[in-house]
Amino acid sequence: MTVLIVLVALAVGAYLVAVLESWAVHGRLEPARPAISALALLGRESLLARTPDRLFFEAGPVVLLVAGLLAVAVIPLAPGLIVTDLATGALFLNAALAYVLVALIMAGWGPNGAYAMIGGWRFLGQFVAYAMLIVMPITAVAMRAESLSTVDIVTSQSTLWNIAYQPLGFVLFVAAAMGLCWLPPLDLPTARGDLAGGIEAEYTGARLAVLRLARMVLIMALAGATVTFYLGGWLGPWLPAWAWSAIKILFVAGLMVSVGRLVPRVREAQYLEISWKLGIPLALANIFLVGVITLVVPI
């Protein structure tokens, strides 16, 4: 039952975020647009490249979708409304998201196309840049909650949300999350201008529809993770818990898909340099600060 509710919520949320994204891209608010383009994609022929690695070509989008769904499984939407409350939930989220990289390498290698392959390997470089910045802010969050369980992490924020407690970690985490679901300005694997679609270049028809859906699920999962770790999850006055979760997740997802478009695309070398020379020292400083605050000021 919980699984069904979470899946329906996920589908509705993904649809709304798709509407928001098309609004951010095209400048017009068209509520029917994602449905129409999904139907169009399903109706189109799904081409197969010449001498593909058929197994990876078919498995890539599906693995991406499964990774996104597994990540959603540990995100609490309300007290009790969570698919599995694992004792190592925050780590499990990381484990699920690590398979995004595997899926993209499969999708890049599979179709036997130059642009797709460059897109896939580029994402590996991007992964090296963002991976530490996903894990280290989560470490600081878990330090405050004294638990890796996502439910405990939400309840630990009842007095003060983590966005106020560790703003540095929030900024780093959101930036890394945008790298993880390759949103602009970090959309290196699909880079429309210089890679002609990258990993999406060889996918058509139903397979492309699965790939796009998987990416929407991924964006929802990361927005959910941001809300769980930094914005107090379901906590909030007046409204019921699920409404707060919905509002916060949609707000974060909307920000993630729209704001980055105002910034020019970052080159992968620049991204790596910024992440390792600036991001990781900041993340370490964040862990240190949170440790000191947790010990000295009991909030």
Partner: protein
């Protein structure tokens, strides 16, 4: 036959099967990802054995490691796509014998040894994680720190070995 035994056998079989696929397939990316699936099956076995933290950690770490492995394969192999059907093996008979003897010897030890009584008092996952944390930062802190130092040394050494000799002199 308990369900745990059946699942252990299934995922153990998957781990071994993918391990064999690693050395049988010609495509290098397939080979690296087969190793990933083998390691993931090992991680699932950890989960079945109720070592939740270790299982999740194994599944997470191996995804990254094997993807990096895949790009190194593509960089350094003469035939990464496996379309030229090159043979990349040597001393095959010796290796088969060595692997076989190792396997049989280990099996013999496993079957002949007296493992004593089982201790099935498993702490639950939350307690396990907390206990592991206390162990890491308490009694075993020195070992943990030396492992960290080992990683740091390896990182520096690997980077130094990998840097092109002429690159350092530019500035």
């Amino acid at each position: 036959m308990t369900p745990q035994m059946i699942f252990l056998m299934f995922f153990g079989g998957a781990a071994v099967w993918f391990g064999i696929v690693v050395f049988r397939t010609l495509s290098m990316v397939r080979s690296a990802l087969a190793l990933l699936f083998s390691q993931t099956a090992v991680g699932v076995m950890f989960l079945l054995m109720q070592a939740e933290f270790l299982g999740v950690l194994q599944i997470m770490m191996m995804a990254t490691e094997m993807s990096v492995m895949a790009i190194f394969m593509v960089m350094f192999m003469m035939d990464p796509g496996g379309m030229g059907a090159m043979d990349m093996t040597h001393q095959k008979r010796l290796s088969l014998w060595a692997g076989g003897i190792g396997f049989v010897a280990a099996l013999a030890v496993i079957w002949l040894a007296d493992w004593g009584p089982a201790n099935l008092q498993i702490p639950d996952a939350t307690e396990q994680t907390a206990e592991l944390g206390r162990e890491l930062l308490g009694r075993s802190m020195f070992i943990f720190e030396s492992a960290a130092l080992m990683i740091l040394t390896a990182m520096v050494a690997a980077t130094m070995v990998a840097i092109h000799p002429s690159e350092g002199r530019k500035r």
